[in-house]
Subunit: 153 residues, 2 copies
């Protein structure tokens, strides 16, 4: 009975943490998520900010969907105890102070999700000016988090 | 005038290829996209296939949105000439035969997109059995591509 409960707890934890297994996996998955995010934000920046003459609605909508999907993917599940140190694809850049600032980060994440969801809506409208403006708001939430808990390179 | 045209072409190409810049960036971005995809497919597998008793609709919907976002992100833009060799986060596993099989891969990509879009719809329904079945269809498109153009580890 005790064993059954233990197995249940392990399964439950595995499913909730969803591959937040070994520290290195967590770090590698979050680095992958942010790189995929960066590829997609770069597409939006290129087409809605830097070179609006190259705007391609279909590509920007796809990129905004990707940004929203990353934002809503449960990234904080990849910030387990001990994950400020360790190497995924490269060494973690998470400040150890994160673990004292979890509540603040959770609030920033909520802002990131809200602004990314709004960007997804605005992108579907195809209004380049509005996309540029909303893209700036998403970027601010990224920066808040970087300033708070990411080691400068 | 000639110079202006040349600049225009460069800008156009930059925006279209959307950061498909140096070979190493392409490889790193595609490795990131597939790792982010793998993290999300693992969540769906855990909750809809292996341990349906842990099914959490909100998490599975978010994961299915992520799978669809990756599928629709224009991955083939990251398979430029020369990108079968080179190192992103790790050495590329793309077979050089890809460049003779582009049309076949494009067809597989279309299937991947269609099945991932369907998974996104089915996930929103919350029907675990239907999600499991549709998840299997997505997996088959992944495997087709792996068998065709990915070097075995």
């Amino acid at each position: 009975m005790k064993q059954k409960l233990a197995i249940g707890l392990v399964l439950g934890a595995a499913a909730t943490a969803a591959l937040a297994g070994p520290i290195e996996d967590q770090i590698r998955f979050r680095q992958s998520a942010y790189s995929f995010l960066g590829w997609n934000t770069a597409k939006i920046k290129a087409q809605a900010v830097d070179h609006p003459e190259t705007f391609n609605k279909e590509e920007v909508v796809a990129a905004a969907n990707a940004v929203a999907a990353v934002a809503n993917s449960g990234l904080l599940g990849l910030y387990g105890e001990g994950s400020a140190e360790g190497t995924g694809w490269k060494p973690s850049r998470l400040k150890v102070e994160y673990f004292e600032k979890k509540d603040e980060v959770k609030e920033i994440e909520a802002g990131f999700i809200a602004e990314a969801n709004e960007l997804q809506k605005v992108a579907a409208s195809g209004d380049v000016g509005a996309i540029k403006e909303q893209f700036g708001k998403v970027g601010k939430t990224c920066k808040s988090c970087h300033d708070l808990i990411r080691v400068r390179e």
